[in-house]
Structures are given as C-alpha cells and as structure tokens.
C-alpha cells in the first residue's frame, strides 16, 4: 500500500487493542446514509515510475521558453546551493516552529531573514512573511487602517501605476472591511504619479498612500515627494517595492523627511523560481511604533533557562490562535520555505552580488529597449527613469505577436492594453541578468520577422 507501513499482523494486533472488529467499525459514528461510494472519477493509482513518466511528458510539452516578461515575476539566477539546502527534510518537512526548542534552525533562519529585510528596507521590524506581494499590499493597507487612528475615512490613495492585479487583490480582500481605493492618475509622458494628481486630495482625510518602487511600468516614482505629501496630509506612507531594486536605490525608511511607515512587496526575486506564479512570499517591514499592528509571525531572540540565547515566536497575542476574532489578520500558514530560500539566496549573493544582479538586469533591459526601438513601428512610451522593465508601443496589436513568439519558444512580454485601455498596442518587456546578448538578439530578430507582414499590410 503506497506510504502505509502496516502489515496484516499489525492491523490484527491494533484492532485487538482497540477492541474493534474491523477498520470499518472505526467509522461507525458516521451516519450510514452519509457514507460515500467508490470515488469513481479518481483514476487508479500509479507507481513512482509511471507518474515520473507522465510528469516528464507534461513538462516537456511546455518546454523551456526564453522569458522576456516580468510583470511581477522575475527570472533570476538562483545559486544551486539554495534549493539543495532548502530541500533538506529538516527544513522542508518541519511544521511551524511552535515548539521552539525543537525548531531553532527554522527560527534562527527567520530571525536572520527579518534582519536582512530590515536592512534592505531601512525599517525596524519585519514579519516572517505573508502569502505573496499582492496579499502583502492588502495586509499593509488593513494595517494602515488600524495604525492610523487619526484617520476615520479608510480612504487609500492608490496610483494607477500599481500593478493592476495587485489593485484587484486589494479590492477583493479589503472591500469587505470598507476600504475605499482612490485612483491616482499617472503622467502619460513620464509614466509616474505627478504631484498634481495628489493636489485635489490635500487636506482631505486620507488613511494611507501607496508608493510603488518601481511601478508596474518599471519606472521610479518621486518617492520622497510622495512620502512627504502623505505625512503632511496625515496619511501613512506605504511603500510597495521590488527588493532587488533596493540594492541600488535609497531604502524606504529613508524616503522623504521621515521615511515610510510600512514597506511591503513580492519576495519572489530573492530565490523563488518562477514556478507558474507560486509559491512566492510577501514581505512586510515597518517602524517600531507600529509593531503591534503587524500581521503574521515574528521571531524574537531571548534567553533559555540557563541564560543561553535562543529564538522563539513572539508577540503572538496579535495572531489568530490567541486573539481569534480580534487578530491583526487570519494568516496562519505562511510561506516559510520560500523565506528560507530567500535568506540563503541573500547570504550567498551578499550586498555585492545583489547589486550586480540589479545592475545587470537594468543594463540588459536597456540593451533590449535600445535594440527594439530600432525596429520600424516600435517606440518607447515613458520617459521616467527605469529599473528593469519598459513599456514599448507598437504600430500593430501586440497580442498576435505574443502568441506567435510563444510558438517560437519566446515569452515576449505582457500586453498592457487589456488592463490599460489607454496604452493601445503597448507591451511591457523585461530582460534580467539571465539574458545574454545572444538571447536579446534572438528575441529582436524573431520579433522583427513576425512584424514585417503586419507592417506591410
């Protein structure tokens, strides 16, 4: 029997100890009329050899295309050591570290992770992860509502330059608690949120302002001005960042005069493979004064009975297993293993490595854009300073181009028009450090060949 160790004689002895005539008798408290049948639509079991064959066939069917797409998930090189260690049973098959003495490994990893995230973001406290970047933003805004006691409106200023799917997730999670998202337009020339977009809200009751860094178009916003504006207007500043960009740019804790209050984002670029969208992890850091409003687990360093340092979950009274209906969030299981990967990833790359990755990604995207705009019918859209993504406008619809590139083993980018109707024929592209000059050339040549007929028509 797959994964079940019992011999016939085990079963006999165990039933004897229970004093039950059969295994079936153990279910005698379930009303007979509720019992189910054979589960006919579940296929017959497979051996490991058979399922291996099937999964390889399915994986092969999808192949390994060349990715020139980001849009929230970025292909970076992950050192081999990262997943070798993460896949060790001691990390992989452990539960949440509630029994601290038997979980010092996991707990120390999280403490080191918290330290790294505080360092990168320039803030005081980090939690041990949320599900992903989008839910981290939703949780950050719910936290802002709890933390900003002066504001009663639950109004959040949300730039339109924030990833559309993040705005959708925030809507799903926060609308049941009455949060109201107010959209801030972006400047069609720069692709960033202009101060003018904020002006009409000055003096109003605003709970928080979201500041993406970089924004969905790959552009850097005027983070200092946005942070200061939020504080001048009684709102909390909530940064939504790509952690790799922070290797080169000022820490959110240092934006404006006072720094942001809460910082959150998608941790995927720190050691999580693309893996069809998950598992990734959301991170969140904040100023010390807000720690009791922070959702999710937190690890602290303390002493044991002998006065020796050790690690334990702390401030658990914020969490659902103690505070129940009044908890800061309902989150329980988080993304611990991805946090372990991120901690090892950041340790191996170090500050120099993360900076090189950020620079190489920026440089590759610039090379890609420079080559693409040489093609007739392709032009850059925004003038703002870019990180490692860019918006390009084509003289023809991009959906057919993306599909045709897909057929040639290239994931060619993200079509913006369905979510930004004003960005007609626009494509969001990305080239991380994983792309070589030859890859970029392949992409540009393939695209050029595909475009010709349409331009000629």
């Amino acid at each position: 029997m797959p994964f079940i160790p019992h011999t016939e004689s085990d079963v006999e002895q165990m039933l004897g100890a229970i004093d039950a005539p059969s295994i079936e008798a153990l279910f005698d408290e379930i009303p007979a009329e509720l019992r189910c049948g054979r589960l006919d639509r579940v296929p017959e079991g497979m051996t490991e050899m058979e399922i291996t064959r099937l999964m390889h066939e399915r994986a092969d069917a999808d192949g390994r295309p060349l990715n020139f797409i980001g849009a929230g998930a970025y292909e970076h090189h992950v050192p081999a050591a990262v997943w070798e260690i993460v896949s060790r049973g001691e990390f992989y098959s452990a539960y949440t570290p509630y029994q601290a003495e038997a979980s010092q490994g996991t707990l120390q990893v999280i403490y080191e992770f918290q330290t790294m995230m505080c360092g990168l973001t320039g803030l005081d406290v980090s939690n041990a992860s949320l599900y992903d970047g989008a839910t981290a933003l939703a949780e950050a805004l719910l936290m802002a509502v709890r933390a900003n006691r002066k504001s009663k409106s639950r109004r959040i200023l949300m730039p339109r330059s924030v990833a559309p799917v993040y705005r959708q997730v925030v809507e799903t999670i926060c609308s049941t608690q009455g949060l109201q998202l107010v959209e801030l337009a972006y400047d069609p020339a720069t692709g960033t949120t202009p101060e003018a977009a904020l002006a009409e809200h000055a003096g109003g009751d605003i709970t928080a302002v979201v500041i993406p860094h970089p924004n969905f178009f790959g552009c850097f916003e005027a983070v200092d001005q946005l942070t200061d504006w939020a504080h001048a207007n009684g709102a909390l500043a909530v940064a939504l960042v790509n952690p790799v960009a922070l290797a080169l740019t000022r820490a959110p804790g240092e934006w404006g005069a006072q720094g942001v209050d809460i910082c959150c984002g998608e941790g995927q670029p720190l050691g999580s493979p693309l893996s069809s969208g998950g598992p990734y992890f959301g991170f969140m850091t904040c100023k010390q004064a807000l720690v009791r409003q922070l959702p999710g687990r937190i690890v602290g360093r303390t002493l044991d009975l002998d006065g020796k340092p050790g690690f334990a979950l702390t401030l658990q009274a914020r969490e659902q297993h103690i505070r129940r209906g009044k908890a800061t969030s309902n989150i329980c299981t988080n993304q611990g293993l991805l946090v372990t990967a991120a901690t090892i990833h950041m340790s191996i790359l170090g500050p120099a490595g993360l900076q090189q990755v950020a620079r190489a990604s920026m440089a590759n995207t610039r090379k890609l854009v420079d080559a693409l705009v040489e093609l007739p019918g392709v032009e850059p859209v925004f003038s703002g300073t870019r990180f490692h993504e860019a918006v390009l406008r084509f003289d023809q619809p991009v959906r057919p181009l993306i599909d045709a590139l897909g057929g040639r083993g290239i994931v060619g980018g993200y079509a913006l028009e369905p979510v930004y109707p004003e960005l007609k024929h626009c494509l969001l592209v990305c080239a991380t450090e994983t792309k070589t000059d030859a890859d970029i050339d392949t992409y540009v040549q393939t695209l050029a060949a595909l475009m010709r007929p349409a331009s000629a028509a």
Partner: protein, 129 residues
C-alpha cells in the same frame, strides 16, 4: 481573599474602581485577574478624552499566551491613563491596586458605582469560579 482592598468597588469582569472625589475614579484590574493572566507583556490603554461605557472594552492586557479585554466598569470620559504601563506592563502583576492602575475616568453619573460589587461581594464572586 483577605487582601482585597476594602475601599474598592469591583465589576464581575474583574475590574476595580476607586473613588477619588470630585466625580473622578481610578480603574484597574484585580489581583485575581492578573494572577490568572500571568506575566503581562503589553497593555493597550485608551486615548485620553475617549468616552467609555459600562461593559464595553476599553483596554487590552496581554500576556504571552492570552490577550484579554478590560471592560469599563463605569460610564464617563477618560481623563488620564497610566503612561508607565507602556514600558512596564509588569506593574499590573506586582501592584494591581497601586502603580498598576490603568485609567482615570470622570464619571458621567455620580451614582454609577451603585451597581458594582463591594470587596466582600467580589470575594464571593471569585470563590465561585
């Protein structure tokens, strides 16, 4: 329970009230309550100026294993809170009836204390638990 101060009034939910004269009262939680909670690690006090109502949660006391609401035993307006608890929540453990007070309230109605238990009544109430 001979150590229950005789000059205090109590709510069944374990808060005590001391009359300070001039319509002012001081509020805290009982020795019995702090004992049941264990070592406190945090106290969330109300804002000065907040209105409190009998039976409504007005503060939270937190140990490592539990977080409990403190229910206001009186109607009125909070005029002072114990700022020392921010750094030393353990004051409630060590001196529940003294330095571990939580808030001072200006009563909305001077007769409001009539419904509370006296020391003996409270001693009986916790003996039944």
């Amino acid at each position: 329970m001979s150590d229950i101060p005789q000059d205090l009034k109590f709510a069944e939910s374990h808060e005590w009230v001391r009359e300070e004269g001039g319509g002012l009262v001081t509020v805290g939680i009982s020795d019995h309550a702090q004992e049941a909670l264990g070592d406190l690690v945090y106290v969330e006090v109300p804002d000065v100026g907040a209105a409190v109502t009998v039976g409504d949660a007005c503060a939270v006391v937190e140990s490592v294993k539990a977080a409990s609401d403190v229910y206001s035993p009186v109607d009125g307006e909070v005029v002072a809170v114990n700022e020392a608890l921010a750094d030393a929540p353990e004051l409630i453990n060590s001196e529940p009836y003294g330095e571990g007070w939580i808030m001072q309230v200006r009563l909305a109605d001077a007769n409001a204390l009539d419904d509370l238990l006296d020391a003996e009544g409270y001693a009986n109430a916790i003996a039944d638990e």
